[in-house]
Every structure is written in C-alpha cells, then in structure tokens.
C-alpha cells in the first residue's frame, strides 16, 4: 500500500455525509466530555461504544476517533480558565494557561491551545500515514513467532509504563489472561474453566469485561465522593482576543516539537497522552529561547503540551491499527468495537480492510475541520460544562453503559459480567493494579497463547524459533529494553519521592489523577 494512496483513500471518505454527521456528534461529545473533569476519552468510549455496534465499521472508527480529538482540545478549557485539568494530560496546561488567564491573557492562552491542538492533530495525521503504511507492508512477514513476540511486547509495555508497582501490573495482566482463558482452548477447542456452564463455552463477553474494567471501575471510584465542580462567582473569561500573527509565529516551533514527540511517544504501547505531553513540554523548554518563562505563563509551553496531546491520538493508532496491539485503554475499547464488528485484531487487520485506515484518517481530519470551525466559539461556552451536576453525569453514565451493554446481545448476564468487572476494576484502581494491563491481556490473551502454541507446533517444539528469527529477536529485545526502562523508572520515582517532599512530576501526576481519575486519558 502506498502512502499517497492511503491519504487519497482517507480524503475519499470525506465525501460521505454520514461520516460527517457521526464525526460532528463525536467531536462535540469529546469537547464537552473533555471539559468535564474526570470524563476522559476512555470513559467516553465506554459510554458510547454500544452505539457504534449499529454503525458501519468505518463510521464507528471515525466516530470514536473524533471523540479523542474533541477531548484533546476540550480538556484545556477548564485547565486554562479555572485551573482544573479536564484530564491528567492537561495538568501542564494549568500551570502556564491558568497563569496567563490570571494575567488577563485568556485569549492568548485559549488561542495557543486551539491553534496547537489543530496543527498537532493535522500534522500528526501525516506522520501517522507515513509510519503505518510500512508497518502494514511488513504485516505479511509476521508468522506465529513474530505475532507472539509482538503481543508480548504490547502487554509488557503497558505493564512497564503504567502504574507505580510493576509486580502489581504483572498481576493485573495475569488476571486479564485468566479471563481470556475461560471458554474454548484456542488450538484444541477443549473447554477450560467453564464449570460445565453452557453459557461460558464461548467465553465471557469481552466487551462487557472491558467496559467494566475501564469505564465502570472509574465511575464506581468517582461515586466515593459527592461534590460538584463549580465556576467561582465572578469568574470572568478574561479577554477573548485571538492571538496575533506574530504571537502565532512564536508558538510554531514548540507546537511542531509537541507534534513530533506526541506522535512517537503516543505510538509506544502504554505511554499515551500524559507522558507525551510531559516529554514534549520538557523538549520545548530545552529548545526555547525563553526557557525561564515555562511554568510562569509560557505560550510555548501550552503549544507544546496541546500539540502533543492531540498528536498522541494519531500515535496511539499506529500500533493499534498497524499491528493490532492497542497502545492505550481507549485503543483497547476501539479494538473491542472492531472485534464486535467481526474484525480479528492483528497485523493483517488493516491490510485486509484498508477502509479502516481510510476511516481513521477521514475521522481525524473531519474532526479537525469541525474543531477549527467551532472550537474557538466553544471555548467560552464549554466553561459551563464544568458546572454540570457531577452526580447526574456519573449516574446517567452508569445507566447508559448498563443499557448499552445489555443491548449488545439483550442478555442480563453481560450486565452482570460488566458490573463484576467494574467492581474488580474499582479495587484495582484503588490499590494500584493497572486496569489497562488487565484489559489488554483480556483482548490479546487468546492470541498470545494461540501464536505461542501454533509457533511451537510448526517448529516441532523448538523454542529457539522464538528468538532466532530477526523480527522476533528485535521485538523481544525492545520488550526487554522497555521492561528495563520500567524497572529503572520505578526505582528512580521511588528514590525521588523518598528524597524530596517537593512537588515533583510524579506527585503532580498523582494529584492530577486524584482530580481527574486515573484512566481518564
């Protein structure tokens, strides 16, 4: 497949009015949800996933991605105007954006966020196409040993990069594998862990488990506290003047830095928008002529951060669509939506159905266009989203996911599975077991086992096949490197926290997670 052909295919889908309708709804949902603290992409995906099952697959992809694009911008609005990050990735926007707002330069801060989100999204789509097409061409070289190594990389990367305790992350992945083992064995088709119940022969409904682990768990956790966000009396929107041309020129290098870093960091399974934003911010500070301004109302800081958040949307899609390995919780749900539609996750998924790739490009482009047309106007209106009754949002979100999961197969057992998974997910969130790792292991567990066993069967039981082939060896080396990085990062974070009581980045993220919810990316 050619890069140019993919772009043309994506642009071709923009002629579909239904796609525009879904993307319009998705973008608005994303901006409103992003502006509400605690409502991130994952939760919104969980709520709206059941609606995608009645859509065409390419519409479903475009709709879900437009939600991500909307969230990337929406979360900056309360961050700048109220100092409340909509999602953890917006925590650095608070530092510079809210400072500018207090200086009476709200227009400049909102404008920087708006322009950077748009440019980051648009340019990252090009990066996405340039990076995913070679991956898709490589897909046919992936046999069972390569697939095994790839899936293992995806799961261990999430274990390594999410959560503070790697052993707990590993246990979470083990729990996900255990769920994936229920039902028919993927090679011999003998039953496992079905307790002689016919309903368990085909396994538990994975979509219900995933929505439970990733979305319901967060809703349950939020029920612990009853309060409302509010716009303080007399809170003004400051000046709403759009930035001047020279101000825009000044933010371009930082936005480009954010775009490049955001796309690449987003492509690492387990990384996502928050590390992308943090690393971009640091990189932009290093390259800036005025690094001393960072943290004190730097437009460049906002530009790098916002561009990185939106670019990471495209980055996360690279392993998800290119290899069938989702890079974040929301991508696990996207893949789950495609699985329900009959697609089999794996490197061949998009090669066999290029429409999915075109839909991803079209969805992100259309959402960017809609955001360009409406975002500036929405930035002042969306401040009201913060003051929407938090309890009502939580309760009606729970009611929506219950009805949505029930409507999958009109079976109460699916709702029960989702609630149990939500309860377990709640405990996992509270005690530091990564729900993302468990969800990913649920999705990929069957494939990991199948590729391991079929690979061993084809090589007459020779395990060296799994390390001697060039692609497999490379992937396994990367896996080891990511694991080593995870151990190093974990130790470094522990040392930092022991050494200092100051607000370091780990603590800043921890407090942001307390405000916005852990999985609210």
């Amino acid at each position: 497949m050619e890069i140019f052909g993919s772009l043309v295919g994506g642009l071709g889908q923009l002629g579909d009015p239904w796609l525009w309708s879904y993307v319009l709804i998705g973008t608005l949902v994303g901006v409103i949800g992003g502006a509400m603290p605690g409502m991130g992409t994952t939760l919104l995906y969980g709520m709206f996933l059941p609606f995608t099952f009645v859509m065409e697959p390419h519409h479903a992809v475009a709709f879900l991605l437009s939600i991500s694009v909307g969230v990337g911008f929406g979360n900056s609005i309360p961050a700048i105007l109220l100092g409340i990050p909509g999602t953890p990735s917006a925590v650095l926007t608070v530092i510079d954006g809210h400072t500018l707002h207090k200086q009476g330069k709200s227009g400049l801060a909102l404008g920087a966020s708006f322009i950077s989100a748009l440019s980051g999204q648009t340019v990252s789509i090009l990066f996405f196409v340039v990076l995913i097409v070679p991956l898709m061409d490589m897909a046919y070289k992936f046999l069972y040993p390569e697939l095994f190594a790839l899936y293992l990389l995806g799961i261990l990367a999430i274990v390594s990069l999410t959560g503070d305790n790697m052993l707990k992350g590993l246990m979470a992945a083990g729990f996900g594998f255990a769920i994936a083992m229920i039902g028919l064995d993927p090679v011999n088709l003998t039953t496992r862990f079905t307790f002689d119940q016919r309903i368990l022969r085909s396994g538990v409904n994975l979509t219900a488990v995933l929505i439970g682990l990733l979305a319901v768990s967060e809703i349950f956790r939020s029920f612990r506290q009853s309060f409302n966000w509010s716009v303080p009396d007399g809170a003004d929107l400051g000046d709403q003047k759009f930035p001047t041309r020279s101000e825009i020129r000044g933010m371009v290098p930082a936005a480009m830095t954010g775009t490049v870093v955001g796309t690449f960091v987003g492509a690492i399974p387990g990384a996502g928008a928050t590390p992308a934003a943090l690393i971009s911010y640091q990189a932009a500070q290093l390259l800036s002529r005025t690094p001393e301004q960072f943290g004190k109302g730097s437009v460049e800081g906002i530009a790098a951060n916002e561009a990185a958040q939106n670019a990471s949307n495209s980055g996360e899609l690279i392993p998800t669509l290119g290899l069938g390995v989702p890079g974040s919780s929301s991508m696990v749900l996207l893949l789950s939506a495609l699985t329900v539609q009959g697609f089999v996750p794996g490197p061949l998924m998009v090669s066999k159905s290029p429409d999915l790739l075109y839909a991803a490009i079209a969805g992100m482009l259309a959402a960017t266009v809609i955001l360009a047309a409406t975002g500036w106007f929405m930035s002042s209106v969306m401040l009201r989203a913060v003051s929407i009754n938090r309890s009502a949002v939580l309760i009606l979100s729970l009611a929506t996911v219950i009805l949505g999961v029930f409507s999958l197969n009109t079976r109460i057992i699916d709702v029960a599975v989702m609630l149990i998974a939500g309860g377990i997910g709640y405990l996992m969130l509270r005690y530091g077991y990564s729900t993302a790792a468990a969800a990913l292991a649920c999705v990929l567990g069957g494939e990991v086992e199948r590729s391991l066993r079929l690979g061993l069967n084809l090589s007459n039981g020779d395990p060296l096949t799994f390390v001697s082939r060039p692609i497999t060896a490379t992937i396994l080396l990367v896996t080891v490197a990511i694991l080593a990085f995870g151990v190093y990062r974990h130790r470094q974070m522990k040392r930092k926290m022991r050494a200092s009581d100051n607000l370091d980045s780990a603590k800043a993220m921890r407090s942001a997670r307390a405000v916005t919810g852990s999985e609210a990316e």
Binding site: I395, S407, L419, G517
Partner: protein, 172 residues
C-alpha cells in the same frame, strides 16, 4: 491506603492463582497434535498469580511489621483531597446496580430504571425531590425511545408488553 486491605487483595490474587493451578489439572487434552497442550498456559498464569500474590503479601507484611503502620502512601488512585470520600456510597450504588440488573427483565426497562436512577441520586446526596423524580423519568423515556425506536434494540418492557404490543410499539 489501608495496608491491611492491600494485603487482603494480594492474598486474593495468590488464592486465584492457586485455584487456577488446581483446576488446570482437570482440563482435558485434545486429540490434535499440540506440543505444550491446553494446560501449559493456565499452569503458567496460575503460577504467576500464585507466586506474585505471595510475594506482594510478604512484602506488605514485612513493611507492616517494620513500620507498624496501617496507613501507607497510595499506590492506586487517590480521592480528591478537598472532599470527603465514602466507600459505603460506592457499595450502595453497586448493590442497587446489581438489583437493577436482576429485575430489568421481569419488571422491564421503563419500570425498573426510574427507581434505580432516583435511588442513586439520593445516595449521592441529591435532596431536590422534583429533580430527583423528573430526571430519571425523562432519562428513562428518552433512552427507551432512542434505543428501541432509533437503534432497533429490543428493550424488555416486562408487564407492559401486552399494552405495547397492542399499540404496535413492539412486534412480538
């Protein structure tokens, strides 16, 4: 974070691992050629959970003995420090969600949903009675229409089924 609860969860993880190890022995092997068979993976996962759970429990116990503290730094997601938190509220809503799921088929969506949503509102401290009554009703009706009429999902209506059938709102 309460370290005793964390310990309890680690022990539960170890027990899950042990249960998987025990149950794996009864998995039947297939007739197709298979180098490691259907038991290898469950054994590996069971062992991982069992050993990992034990290690986590041992670590937690050692720290509890050394520091004599039950409250330790959070490893999971903290509550918002500016507002009181209640696990009871979460538990109550989880219980009414389970009850709601169990009565959804016999009572039907239109009858079961409003009390569920209203009870959840009350649990969250909502005391505006008109709001608590009106929002669930409007919500239930609008989502019923959206799912049943627009998305063509068969939503159970329980004892209202004969009336709905007569009105032509459901076909069978």
């Amino acid at each position: 974070m309460d370290s005793r609860r964390d310990l309890l969860i680690s022990v539960a993880v170890a027990c899950l691992g042990l249960a998987i190890l025990v149950m794996t022995g009864s998995i039947r092997t297939g007739i197709a050629r298979d180098v490691i068979g259907p038991r290898a993976f469950p054994y590996a996962i069971g062992a991982l959970l069992f050993v990992g759970g034990l290690v986590l429990s041992a670590r937690r116990l050692r720290r509890m003995n050394a520091e004599g503290l039950f409250l330790v730094p959070e490893e999971g997601t903290d509550d918002n420090p500016d507002h009181p938190a209640s696990a009871g509220r979460f538990l109550f809503i989880m219980v009414i969600s389970a009850v709601y799921a169990s009565v959804l088929m016999p009572l039907g969506y239109l009858i079961a949903t409003p009390p569920f949503v209203a009870l959840a509102f009350i649990a969250m401290g909502e005391r505006r009675w008109l709001y608590t009554a009106a929002v669930p009703l409007v919500w239930t009706l609008s989502t019923y229409l959206l799912f049943s009429q627009l998305l063509n999902v068969r939503i159970p209506v329980g004892p209202l089924a004969p009336i709905f059938r007569e009105l032509g709102l459901i076909i069978n």
